[in-house]
């Protein structure tokens, strides 16, 4: 092992209930600190892969190792804590809880993870201060902005808040699931750049999932779902 692996799929199979396998990955590795672009149309098993990485889904066969932990060996609550401590997620849209303020949305992982709360405090004088700092770095500054309701933000702004949430406390792995698909083209590129810049500052591994190949150029490595997933395509449309 030359460098530690952030993600390792080895003969990992996943099937919903007793149905056919929707994911069958013989070998897929992401090295620590690597930024990987994972490309595939919807229904190619991306969501399932992310579920396995997040420890929310368990492989029905084979090994899924994330940041050195084989998640299937951990109990459910340990897996939840692992996810809270080590992984930051950004989704396609509706990333935010409408009833929380911007800062509270960003602080959400710190509520569930002592480690990330501590890390956030060490980055700034307090976790909320770190949240505000991250939002400012992502172009969401100003008092009037922070007090606005989440639902009043544009989608681009919402995605940046979601990014700040994924970044707070510096998790080792950032997983972005189509974070730009709701954005228009110029915003899209700006968002990807921002994401990569902040992740490299934090030294986080990035797995960026998208069906838009035009974004692949920003990443060190690009992987196509078809190439790693051996499960037949017609069954991959998960229920």
């Amino acid at each position: 092992m030359t460098s530690p692996l952030a993600i390792r799929f080895s003969n990992a199979v996943f099937a919903y209930r007793s149905g056919p396998a929707v994911l069958d990955i013989a070998d897929f590795r992401v090295e620590a600190g690597e930024r990987v672009f994972l490309e595939g149309p919807s229904g190619s098993g991306k969501s399932t892969l992310l579920g396995l990485v997040g420890g929310i889904l368990m492989p029905t066969g084979g090994v899924v190792e994330v940041l050195g932990e084989q998640l299937a060996d951990l109990g459910p609550s340990r897996r939840d804590r692992f996810r809270a401590d080590r992984v930051g997620f950004v989704f396609q849209m509706f990333n935010l809880l409408p009833y929380l303020s911007l800062v509270d949305n960003v602080l959400l992982p710190c509520r569930f993870s002592v480690a990330r709360a501590a890390a956030a405090r060490s980055d700034s004088e307090s976790a909320p201060a770190e949240a505000v700092r991250l939002l400012e770095r992502l172009g969401l500054s100003g008092e009037e902005f922070l007090e606005r309701s989440v639902t009043e933000l544009s989608i681009g702004q919402q995605q940046r808040v979601a990014l700040a949430r994924a970044l707070i406390g510096g998790p080792a792995l950032i997983v972005a699931d189509e974070p730009t698909s709701s954005l228009d083209a110029p915003t899209r590129l700006k968002f990807v750049d921002l994401l990569l810049e902040e992740c490299s500052r934090a030294g986080s591994t990035v797995v960026f999932v998208s069906h838009d190949p035009s974004l692949a150029s920003s990443f060190e490595r690009s992987v196509r779902m078809e190439d790693i997933n051996a499960a037949p395509l017609e069954v991959r449309d998960a229920p």
Binding site: G54, I56, D80, R83
Partner: protein, 564 residues
């Protein structure tokens, strides 16, 4: 820490959906308020009911059922099957263990309100609502047999004030079949509201009660009277005789004066006298004359009013104790006749008169004595309907009760009012339980409404669950979140319901006291309210497991992304 996150998230989530949440809270709160309100009213009604009579140790009446006795004696509902003989009453009242008695004579109505004949003991000894005694809102107690004390409802419903004249009819119907203006009573007092049947009662003296009975009989033949009155004028002795007889007969029929056979004697006397009718002034104002007599007997106050001539003469005789003078001066044989006539009429009013006079045809002494008796309220009716007894000491209760129940002279029954009230309340308990069940079902409906709201919100909140999962929340937290929301909603609703009821009762207290006469012991929420709040909250938590379980399953199946 987890719990704090849970509650804070649930709270903020609810705040975000505040209009739906508020509606849910209000609907559950209303149902809780209903339940607690029903319970409060039940409690208050029971307290008020149980407090209808207090401080009384025994209620005595003719032997029938305890409930029946309680109903007619205390609640003025229904009628007695029989009476208590006056002698029996006297004997019981004279027992050493008896501290006080209240005689009750029922059977008449004034515009739908029961009329109750009693004595001063009623105002002295009647207690309700633990230890409240009757107090006067206006005026004072009755002193004479043509005076009445009315309850608050009577005064309010009929708009009576002190010194108003009211007419009492026989029977208990709202409208008497026979209308007659013969027995007017003057309102001397209006009682403060009690929240008991006292409010709906017209109280008169026992003598007054007898007067109604006599007059009632009289009135049935009012027409006949009028005609006969004319006859009198015409000096038709024969006709007069018949007249007189008629009236006597009336007495006998209508009232319990069956033992007035002597009245017949009376008239015999009248017959003897023959022409005295003229002198006695029978000019159709028979009734008036009677009234005046009655008034005079009481306090002589109407002496001044007596412009009726013949009638006066008589009145004076009766009113003042100048028998001798009368005898010597005025009382020729004819006068004697007058007197009898007069007595006769009195007899209509007061049997006692008739009796006494009949027995001692010429002896005015008797008559005057009787009149004095009137004034003293020691008037002797033949019977009363029931009586309420207070004892000197409680341990004597059962001894006296046995004595009365085994009273040899007539079949009597003594009940302990508290015990019978309890029995009566238990009889009503079914309705009470039904009411409670209904309000419990309303709460169930409220909670089902909440369940619907939670389940409906679930679909749009699946994404929210996924976000929470992504930042490290376990499915247990998702489960707990929904449970917490339900608990917060229900607890808030229950608390709101309790507050609403108590605030409402506090606000309604003066109105209830004034209108219904009982004091709403609203006060601070008690144990029952706490139990209800807890029970509603627990029930909410229980039914919230349904959406919570569903959310739990969603969050497991959805993973981090919601497929929609």
């Amino acid at each position: 820490m987890r719990l704090r996150i849970l509650v804070s998230l649930a709270w903020k989530s609810l705040l975000n959906r505040r209009s739906t949440a508020a509606l849910t809270v209000v609907s559950v709160a209303v149902s809780v308020a209903l339940l607690i309100g029903v319970d409060r009213i039940r409690t208050e009604a029971k307290a008020s009911f149980m407090n209808t009579i207090s401080g009384a140790d025994l209620v005595v009446g003719a032997r029938s059922g305890p409930l029946n006795l309680l109903l007619y004696s205390v609640f003025r509902i229904g009628d007695a099957t029989n009476n208590i003989g006056w002698d029996s009453y006297q004997e019981i009242a004279a027992r050493p263990e008896v501290a006080w008695t209240i005689p009750i004579s029922l059977g008449d109505a004034h515009r739908g309100f029961r009329v109750l004949g009693t004595d001063q003991g009623y105002f002295e000894h009647y207690r309700f609502a633990r230890d409240r005694s009757l107090t006067f809102a206006a005026g004072k107690s009755f002193a004479h047999f043509d005076e009445a004390v009315i309850g608050a409802d009577v005064a309010q419903a009929l708009g009576y004030t002190v010194d108003d004249e009211i007419i009492v009819s026989h029977g208990i119907g709202d409208v008497s079949f026979v209308t007659h203006d013969d027995v007017p009573f003057r309102v001397t007092g209006i009682l403060d509201r009690t929240g008991t049947p006292v409010d709906r009662t017209v109280h008169i003296t026992l003598a007054g009660m007898e007067a109604i009975h006599a007059e009632e009989a009289h009135a049935e033949h009012a027409d006949g009277h009028a005609e006969h009155a004319d006859d009198h004028d015409a000096d038709d002795h024969d006709g007069d005789d018949h007249d007189a007889d008629d009236r006597d007969a009336d007495d006998h029929d209508g009232d319990d004066h069956d033992r007035d056979d002597h009245a017949g004697d009376d008239h015999a006397a009248v017959d003897h006298d023959g022409d005295d009718h003229d002198a006695v002034d029978h000019d159709g104002d028979d009734h008036d004359a009677v009234d005046h007599d009655a008034v005079d007997h009481d306090g002589d106050d109407h002496d001044g009013d007596d412009s009726d001539g013949g009638g006066h003469a008589e009145d004076d005789h009766h009113g003042q104790d100048v028998d001798d003078g009368h005898d010597s001066d005025d009382h020729s044989e004819d006068h004697e006749g007058e007197d009898h006539e007069g007595n006769d009429r009195n007899g209509d009013d007061h049997e006692g008169h008739a009796d006494d006079h009949a027995q001692s045809t010429d002896e005015h002494d008797d008559g005057t004595e009787v009149e004095r008796d009137h004034d003293d309220e020691a008037f002797r009716p033949d019977a009363i309907t029931a009586c309420i007894i207070g004892l000197k000491s409680k341990p004597q209760l059962f001894g006296l009760q046995r004595f009365i129940n085994e009273y040899p002279a007539e079949p009597l029954m003594a009940i302990v009012p508290g015990v019978t009230l309890q029995q009566l309340w238990e009889l009503l308990g079914t309705a009470e339980a039904a009411l409670f069940a209904v309000s419990a079902f309303v709460i169930a409906a409220g909670l089902v409404g909440m369940l619907t709201t939670l389940l409906t919100s679930l679909a749009e909140r699946r994404r929210e669950m996924a976000i929470l999962r992504s930042v490290g929340a376990g499915p247990g937290l998702v489960f707990g979140l929904l449970l917490a929301e339900a608990v917060i909603l229900a607890a808030a609703a229950a608390a709101l319901g309790v507050i609403a009821v108590h605030a409402g009762m506090l606000a309604a207290r003066p109105i209830v006291l004034e209108r219904l006469g009982f004091y709403l012991a609203a006060g601070a929420p008690g144990m029952f309210d706490l139990v209800i709040v807890l029970a509603v909250t627990a029930a909410a938590a229980l039914i919230a497991t349904v959406p919570a379980w569903q959310a739990y399953r969603f969050s497991l199946a959805d993973g981090l992304t919601v497929r929609t």
